[in-house]
Amino acid sequence: MKTQAAVLWEYGQDWQIEELELDDPREGEVLVRLAASGLCHSDEHVRVGDLPMQALPVIGGHEGAGVVEKVGRNVTTVAEGDHCVLSYIPACGRCPSCAQGHQNLCDEGAELAVGLARDGTARHHVRGQDARLMCLLGTFAPYTVCRETSVIKIKEDVPLDKAALVGCGVTTGWGTAVYGAEVSPGDTVVVLGIGGVGANAVQGARIAGATQILAVDPSPFNREQAKRFGATHTFASAADARAALPDLTRGRMANSALITVDLATGAILGDAISLVGKLGTVVLASLASVTDDRAVVPMFEVTAFQKRIVGSLFGNANPRYDIPKLLDLYRQGDLLLDELVTRTYSLDQVNQGYDDMRTHRNIRGVIRYP
C-alpha cells in the first residue's frame, strides 16, 4: 500500500514528509493503522545524531497506538480489529532477560537502532530505498508494519491517542519512580527534568506515596505543569533544590533523585548524587549522547553514604504487564494521561512539534492521524 511517513535522510536535517510504500506483513508481523504518535525526545536524539541509527533513511516515531489492520502468518497474540499499543521495546518472552522478568531488556532490543525486519529486509520503502524504523516501529506514519513482539493488545475503551503515550514516555517515567527508585510511602523524591518522561516520574512518585516531590526544570511552564502531576515543590535548578532539601528533610536529604532531563550530561549525575542522603538512590533514565563517557561524580559521597546509581530503561517495566496495568490506572483516574498532551499536530507539522518541544512549550506533543 501507499501512504506517508516522516523520514530522516541526514543527521541534523529536519524530518521530511515522503510517500511511503508499505509491504504486507510477513510471518510474525502485524500491519497497524495508527491513531496517534507521541513526539518523544528520543526521535530528536536520532535527528541530531546523539542516537544514531545503523544507517539512514529512517522513519521516526516510537510511541504509537492504533488498530490491527492485518496480521502475517503465525501471529497469535493479536487479530485484525484489535486495539493495541506499540511498545518501543519488543518483548519476545523467551530470551534470558524476558525469562527473568526483565522484558524491558529483551534481546530483540539489540535491533532498535537497526530498524529492519528479523531477516534484515525492510517492509518500508521511500523514493525506492529501504527505510529503517525508529525502535522497529516508525510511528511517524499513518500505517506501519512491525513485529508482533512489539504489539500489546489493549481494551477498546481507552482513547488511542492517550494510550499511545504508554508505549514509551509514560511507562518510562512512572517506572523510573515505582520500579527504578522503588519509591515508598513518605519518601522525598527529586525529579530532574519535567518533560513527557519527568511528568510521569512525578506521578509515579505520587502514586507510590511520596509525600515530598521536588520538580526541577529551568522552564517556568514545565515547573507549573509539574504541580498538576503531583509536585509539591518546584525549583529552577538542582542547586536551588539542594539548598532547600536540608530544611524539608531535617537534614536527611532526598530518598531518591530521578534524572529525566532531555539529554543526560556528566554534570547532572553529580548534581543528583548530592541531592540524596544516606542509602539514597539516583536513577538515570535520560539518554546521553552515545559518545559521552564522562560523568562528574562526588565519589566520596557515593562510598561514605552508600548511595546507589542505577540506570533504568523503559522504567524497568515489563511491556506486556505494565502497559495494560497503566491503562487500568488511567481508567480508574489515578494516572493522568489527558493532561500530558499539550498540543496535537498533523503528520506534516512534525517539525513544528519538535520546535515546540525544544522551546519548552510542550509536555508532550502528539501527532493525530485522521
Binding site: 512512572w174 515505582v178 510511602p185 513518605g186 509515579g204 507510590a208 506515596g209 509525600t211 487500568d328
Partner: protein, 372 residues
C-alpha cells in the same frame, strides 16, 4: 516510691480491676512516664480472656504516650520533660536483630509477656507486696509506669497524646503490614480481613503505597463504612462475596496481597486469605490467635506449592520503632496519615471495662483512655 492508679488483670477471664498500686523509683536505665493517653488494643483483651498467656497479675496496656517525669542512672535516650511514645517492642540497638535492621525483633522483647525489666525485677507492687509486670514491659493503663529507656521514643511536642499513643502499636502494625510486610506496590490489589484499629491502618498503608483495589472484609457495617473513609475501594461482609468480586475486578488473576487483621486469628480466615490471592502472592498474618490454637488449614498442593503462595507473619509491621514512629507522626502532621479519625471514643480509666465491651461489640475502631 509513689502511688499510681492502674487497670490490673489478676486472673484470666476476670474484668480489668482499676486499683491503686505502689510504683518504685526508676532503676538504672529506666524512666518513669506519666501517661497522658493509652490506646485500647485487642491484645490486652487477649491477655484478659486468657487467649494470650502472660504472667499474672499484670498491669495492662501497651499503647501509650506521655511525659518523662523521672529518669534513673545511665539514661541517655530521653530526658525529664520529653514527650514520648512507648513502643510495645523495646529497641536496645545492640542485639543481633537491632544490629541488622530488624529492631521489631529486638531481643529485649523476650519479656513482653512477663513485664520483667532488663535491670531485673518488677516496679509495680500491690499493698500485699506482690510484684506486677506491665504488659509488653509497659503497663500504659496506669497513670504512671516505670519502663526501660529502650521502650521510649521521643516525639515532637506539638503532637496530641491521644493520637501519639496509637503509633506505639496499632498504627505501625497495620500500616507496616501493607507497606513493609506485604510490600504493596502502586497498582496492586490488596484484600484486608478485619478493619479494626490495626486493619484500618493496613487500609491506609495500602492506599498510601498506591494500591489500586483495596478490598475490606468485615462483618460489622460500622467498620465497613469507616474503611471506605480510610481508603477502601470495596467492602464486603463476608469472604465469599469478596472472593467473587476480586476475581472479577482482577480478570481472574486474584489479589496480590491478603492481610489478616481480624480480632482473633482462626484457621478459616487464613484459608480464605490464601484462596483470594493469585500466583506468587502473599498472605500476611498480623492477628494473634489463641495460645494453644495450632491449626491453620491450607491445601499444600494447590494453595501453597502449585501457586507459589507465601504465608508471612510479622511483629509491629516490620517497622523500626525509633525510625518509623517519628516518621508516621510526620505523615500525620503532613495530612497523609489519618489518626484522629481512628479514635471512636475516649474513656476514663474507670470506664475501661465498658470500653472493652464496646470493642467486643464492634462499636470501636479504636478506644483511647485519657488518664487524669
Amino acid at each position: 516510691m509513689m502511688r499510681t492508679r492502674a487497670a490490673v488483670i489478676w486472673e484470666a477471664g476476670k474484668p480489668f480491676d482499676v486499683t491503686e498500686l505502689n510504683l518504685d523509683e526508676p532503676a538504672s536505665g529506666e524512666v518513669r512516664i506519666r501517661f497522658a493517653a493509652a490506646g485500647m488494643c485487642h491484645s490486652d483483651l487477649h491477655v484478659r480472656t486468657g487467649d494470650s498467656v502472660c504472667r499474672l497479675p499484670m498491669v495492662a496496656g501497651h499503647e501509650g504516650a506521655g511525659i518523662v517525669d523521672a529518669v534513673g542512672e545511665g539514661v541517655t535516650r530521653v530526658r525529664i520533660g520529653d514527650h514520648v511514645v512507648c513502643s510495645f517492642i523495646p529497641v536496645c540497638g545492640t542485639c543481633r536483630y537491632c544490629a541488622t535492621g530488624r529492631q521489631n525483633l529486638c531481643d529485649q522483647g523476650a519479656q513482653m509477656q512477663t513485664g520483667l525489666l532488663p535491670a531485673g525485677g518488677f516496679r509495680f507492687h500491690d499493698d500485699a507486696g506482690a510484684d506486677l509486670g506491665g504488659f509488653c514491659m509497659l503497663g500504659t493503663f496506669s497513670q504512671h509506669a516505670v519502663v526501660s529507656q529502650w521502650s521510649c521514643v521521643p516525639i515532637d511536642k506539638d503532637i496530641p497524646f491521644d493520637v501519639a499513643a496509637l503509633v506505639g502499636c496499632g498504627v505501625p502494625t497495620g500500616w507496616g503490614a501493607s507497606v513493609n510486610v506485604a510490600g504493596v506496590r502502586a497498582g496492586d490489589t490488596v484484600v484486608i480481613f478485619g478493619a479494626g484499629g490495626v486493619g484500618m491502618n493496613a487500609v491506609q498503608g495500602a492506599r498510601h503505597a498506591g494500591a489500586r483495589h483495596i478490598v475490606v472484609v468485615d462483618p460489622v457495617l460500622f467498620k465497613r463504612d469507616s474503611a471506605l473513609r480510610f481508603g477502601a475501594t470495596h467492602v464486603f461482609a463476608d469472604a465469599a462475596s469478596a472472593q467473587d468480586a476480586v476475581a472479577a475486578m482482577t480478570r481472574g488473576q486474584l489479589a496480590d496481597h491478603a492481610i489478616c487483621t481480624v480480632g482473633v486469628l482462626e484457621a478459616e480466615v487464613v484459608s480464605r486469605a490464601a484462596a483470594i490471592i493469585g500466583k506468587g502472592a502473599q498472605v500476611t498474618i498480623t492477628s494473634v490467635g489463641r495460645t494453644g490454637d495450632n491449626q491453620i488449614q491450607l491445601a499444600a498442593n494447590g494453595a501453597v506449592v502449585g501457586f507459589q503462595r507465601r504465608i508471612q507473619g510479622h511483629v509491629f509491621g516490620m517497622c523500626s520503632p525509633v525510625h518509623d514512629i517519628p516518621r508516621l507522626l510526620r505523615l500525620y502532621r503532613e495530612g497523609q496519615l489519618m489518626l484522629d479519625e481512628l479514635i471512636t471514643r475516649r474513656y476514663r480509666l474507670d470506664e475501661i471495662n465498658q470500653g472493652y465491651q464496646d470493642l467486643d461489640d464492634g462499636k470501636l475502631i479504636r478506644g483511647v483512655i485519657l488518664h487524669d
